[in-house]
């Protein structure tokens, strides 16, 4: 029997498993879609989709559930990336939020996120009739994610029932569903934050410049550094933006995502910083802080 000339590394195995998942979900769905949040995990996911179907283009569009409150740099990057991948980009903005002008300043982070993102996502899936949606969530992000399956069935009301999950054995995924049910697929389930960074480095995947340190105008609120991205940022009395060298570990809506002080301006420096870091990735996400099991609650309501 011939033996292979090289061993597969853990990144090779993760890549291969993700490609298998993406192909499997696509083969067994009518109208799949890949959620694209412009973040680094999304970037990795799109890269894997291109690999899965090469030399063809991925046979599904990208969907950005927009809040209109992303950093400006993210919008520029988003349009460039979709064009480069040769994939159609659909952008959905919850029309109700547009009408009411929902924003994090007047309505608070909870309402802002619920309406733009959770409701917006449900609307978009229903509007386009997508029956399978790829998301970039990883099991290492948060405790309740650690137990979610790779293929997660959602009721026609988009709810997740943690007590009724299908067992996933070997690499066999049961993708069958009833009319109205949809499926969320997480190809990066088994990746860690470090794996994502190492893979971005190895593959040369472009990322939004905000992940790298640069002097940026920020104000300090409740111990968090908030970047003043444009004139929509309302300053509190006495607040004076100051220029500091900062970067973002995670990218959400700009007033809701805190920056961290950093001088890591290259990928290896970012990775080195990450390895030494002492706070977890979602720390910068203000919505997670309300209660320690808040992610599980959001997921049951249909959040990704």
């Amino acid at each position: 029997m011939r033996t292979p000339t090289q061993t597969l590394t853990h990144l090779d195995r993760l890549e291969s498993e993700s490609i298998h998942i993406i192909r499997e979900a696509t083969a067994e769905s009518e109208r799949p879609v890949m959620l694209y949040s412009v973040g680094k995990d999304s970037g990795v996911m799109v890269h894997l989709a291109r690999k899965a179907f090469y030399p063809a283009r991925p046979p599904f569009p990208l969907l950005h559930v927009d809040t209109t409150w992303k950093f400006r740099a993210m919008y520029e990057f988003r349009d460039r990336m979709a064009a480069e991948a040769g994939m159609e980009l659909k952008v959905w903005q919850n029309p109700e939020c547009v009408r009411l002008g929902i924003n994090p300043f007047d309505h608070g982070s909870q309402v802002h996120t619920d309406l733009w993102k959770t409701e917006g996502l449900k609307q978009a899936l229903e509007h386009y009739g997508f029956d399978a949606a790829f998301g970039g969530a990883r099991r290492d992000e948060e405790k309740s994610r650690a137990k979610e399956r790779v293929f997660s069935i959602r009721s026609p009301q988009h709810r997740w029932d943690p007590k009724a999950q299908r067992p996933e054995l070997w690499s066999l995924y049961n993708v069958r569903r009833r009319p109205g049910e949809t499926i969320r697929v997480f190809p990066l389930s088994n990746w860690t934050e470090l794996d994502v960074w190492l893979y971005i480095q190895r593959e040369g995947i472009p990322i939004v410049p905000l992940y790298l340190a640069a002097p940026r105008p920020v104000v300090e609120r409740n111990g968090m550094l908030i970047m003043v991205d444009d004139d929509r940022m309302r300053l509190l009395p006495g607040e004076q933006p100051e220029w500091r060298s900062v970067r973002f570990r995670t990218l959400g809506c700009y007033p809701l995502t805190a920056a961290v002080p950093s001088t890591a301006s290259t990928l290896p420096e970012v990775i080195a910083e990450m390895l030494r870091t002492t706070t977890s990735e979602r720390q910068g996400r203000i919505i997670d802080h309300d209660q320690s099991a808040s992610m599980e609650k959001k997921k049951q309501e249909g959040y990704f």
Binding site: M1, R2, T3, P4, T5, T7, L8, T9, H10, L11, D12, R13, S16, E17, H20, R23, E24, T26, A27, K51, A52, F53, Y54, P55, A56, R57, R139, D140, K143, S144, A146, K147, R166, P167, E168, L169, W170, S171, L172, N174, R176, R178, N190, T192, L194, L198, R202, P268, I271, A272, L275, R276, T277, T278, T279, S280, Q283, S292, A293, E296
Partner: protein, 633 residues
């Protein structure tokens, strides 16, 4: 221990390059309740410096309010995710955890010790290369320890670690450790695993996790992490013959036709001869196509796209295999079946099997025996319930390529899917084929169905009457038969009560027996249709799945489902045979409508509302329906 800070700072590029080259080990932790699995994994994360300051702050707070360690750090709280189990202090599902050391990265499946969640343990074991079995030093080898060891061995794990935990609570006693070790080794040998490493430790105190403990000077073996880092997991899959189930046919343009899939075993190069299963056609690999350029070689674990020298028909579900050692094709097997659903397995019910990238119709025969996983004894069984494991004959609706599970997990492992709920209700391991597909020869019959029907001047049809007991099925079916007979049509009436006196007299009224009852009747009806007859079937037939199966036994258009729709109250009020009264008194268990469910048809060809139609009128509706469909010639 993601890194020694010095190396990150001095040469980050070199550090990253080293990290990129690490290999991956997937393992599972199992053991009884309170043996300390979650604590051990929490300890791994903590020792690997993967617990961040904010998580540590939350852990300290949680340890005081929810902890079971009297306010000391309770590592289990780091891994017990879902709210319900945090409150109950137990793990109720499989959780996947990730950590890495300078040598390897690890994916850990943390699986529950509770009896009712065996299915989750089997799930976690299915992808693991090694199992860490925990025992509490104070309790030794328990029933659950044996059960979990049996299960991981059954699922094909060949490397075991026995972690004798909580050794601090027995004063780090060497005698206690060695007694447990010898007990356990005997059992592991019984289930066929020889690679067993036993390690004395305390997950809570950190003994022998990363560093040799001063408390166990008599122990000379590796620490747990040391062993996990060095145990050889050289991929045995790569030494096996080449197999790749086709996931996707890649056709970007008429010039290119590639077959994409994950290689589950072996190695492949351009120029290698391959055989396509089930068609048996052979060809030669011309290219191994990837986004990063064509490869000179690919092996087990890689997702690739192959192109072939010849233009041959290959579709999703096919297997591309080494031409000189291709898998066998078969449609009947002996298999281990692990049941994972609250509803019991029904022998004879049509399910679906997903194996590789192929989904086929599946029927599971009655268990030959059930395995008592605590004693490994075989017990007689008619069915399998949640978490039970049995050996059964299974048959699929077409010949499929397979290898025995013990030879190739990915070519012999399957899941069982319920056709109506779409749930994954079980898993199975194929052992061997009961007959090879190429030995099946249908008796060639010259006088066929069309010939029989022509002679009778009618279109053979099954008219299937379903409804509650006392709904009026037999009354209406009898009138229909009389009228058809008067019209000179060739008919036969299969009536539930009569068939149960003969053909099916060995069957009772449990769900499993009801399924078999209907299966036999469906087969008989199909034979009669073959003989050219119009068959009237009058059976309660309470389950949709079995009625769907009966429909599938005959050709499109040959099946007419008639729902004799009588509300339960009306049928019970009629009660010609006095059965409802008996059932209400508890003298007739499993009576449809009383303590056994009736699933009404969702779209029958005909619905007869007996509260508005007389039996004569109802029979006329049936005749009209047959005429409309041209079944009466």
């Amino acid at each position: 221990m993601p890194a020694d800070d010095g190396s990150i700072d001095s040469d980050i590029e070199a550090y990253l390059a080293a990290h990129e080259r690490k290999t991956l080990l997937r393992f599972i932790t199992c053991g009884s309740v309170d043996d300390g699995k979650s604590t051990l994994i929490g300890r791994f994360l903590y020792e690997s410096k993967l617990v961040f300051e904010d998580q540590l702050a939350a852990l300290e707070a949680d340890s005081k309010t929810l902890g079971t360690q009297g306010g000391e750090l309770d590592f289990a709280l780091l891994v017990d995710g879902l709210q319900a189990e945090r409150e109950q202090g137990i793990t109720i599902d499989v959780a996947y955890r990730f950590f890495s050391t300078p040598r390897r990265t690890f994916i850990v499946a943390d699986t529950p010790g509770h009896e009712q969640y065996t299915r989750n343990m089997v799930t976690g074991a299915s992808t693991a290369q090694l199992a860490v079995v925990l025992v509490d030093a104070r309790k030794g080898v328990l029933t659950q320890t044996r059960r979990h060891t049996y299960l991981v061995a059954l699922l094909g794990i060949r490397h075991l670690v026995l972690a004798v935990n909580k050794l601090d609570l027995v004063g780090y006693s060497r005698e206690v450790f060695e007694e447990i070790e010898s007990q356990y080794r005997r059992f592991a040998a019984e289930v066929g695993v020889d690679d067993v490493v036993c390690i004395p430790l305390s997950a809570l105190r950190g003994d022998n996790i990363t560093a040799p403990s001063p408390n166990t000077p008599w122990y000379e073996g590796p620490t747990l992490i040391e062993h996990l880092e060095t145990v050889p997991v050289d991929d045995e899959r790569q030494a096996k013959p080449f197999r790749m189930p086709v996931q996707w046919v890649n056709r970007p343009d008429p010039e290119f036709r590639g077959f994409s899939g994950l290689i589950v075993s072996g190695v492949i190069h351009p120029g290698d001869p391959v055989r396509i299963l089930p068609s048996g056609r052979t060809s030669v690999v011309s290219r191994i196509v990837t986004f990063d350029g064509d490869l000179p070689e690919a092996s087990a674990g890689q997702s690739v796209t192959l192109t072939l020298a010849e233009e041959i028909d290959v579709s999703r579900g096919d297997v591309i295999a080494a031409a000189d050692s291709a898998p066998a094709l078969a449609d009947q097997f002996e298999a281990h079946v692990i049941w994972m659903a609250d509803t019991e397995m029904l022998p004879g019910r049509p399910y679906l099997m997903k194996i590789g990238t192929l989904t086929v119709g599946l029927v599971i025969g009655p268990p030959k025996y059930r395995i008592n996983v605590d004693t490994l004894e075989h017990a007689a069984a008619k069915t399998l319930t949640l978490n039970e494991i049995g050996v059964c004959n299974v048959s699929v609706d077409r010949p499929i390529p397979f290898d025995p599970y013990r030879v190739n997990r990915d070519m012999g492992g399957f899941i069982v899917i319920d056709r109506l709920s779409n749930e994954t209700v079980g898993a199975g391991l194929l052992h061997f084929a009961l007959r090879r597909a190429h030995n099946i020869h249908w008796q060639a019959i010259e006088v066929n169905k069309a010939a029989h029907a022509r002679l009778k001047g009618q279109e053979p049809t099954v008219v299937w009457f379903t409804g509650l007991s006392g709904a009026g099925k037999s009354t209406i079916a009898n009138i229909v038969e009389r009228k058809l007979h008067e019209m000179g049509r060739h008919t036969y009436l299969l009536d539930g009560d009569n068939v149960r006196h003969g053909l099916n007299r060995d069957l009772g009224f449990t769900d499993a027996d009801r399924v078999e009852n209907i299966r036999r009747v469906a087969e008989v009806a199909a034979l009669m249709v073959d003989a050219g007859l119009i068959v009237l079937v009058s059976f309660i037939s309470p389950f949709r799945t079995e009625r769907a199966m009966a429909r599938e036994r005959v050709a499109e258009g040959e099946f007419l489902e008639v729902y004799v729709d009588t509300p339960l109250a009306v049928a019970e009020a009629r009660d010609h045979k006095g059965l409802y009264a008996k059932a209400r008194r508890g003298e007739l268990p499993n009576f449809t409508g009383i303590d056994s469910p009736y699933e009404p048809p969702e779209s029958p060809e005909l619905r007869l509302d007996t509260t508005r139609l007389s039996p004569e009128e109802a029979a006329d509706r049936v005749i009209a329906a047959l005429q409309e469909r041209g079944r009466l010639g």
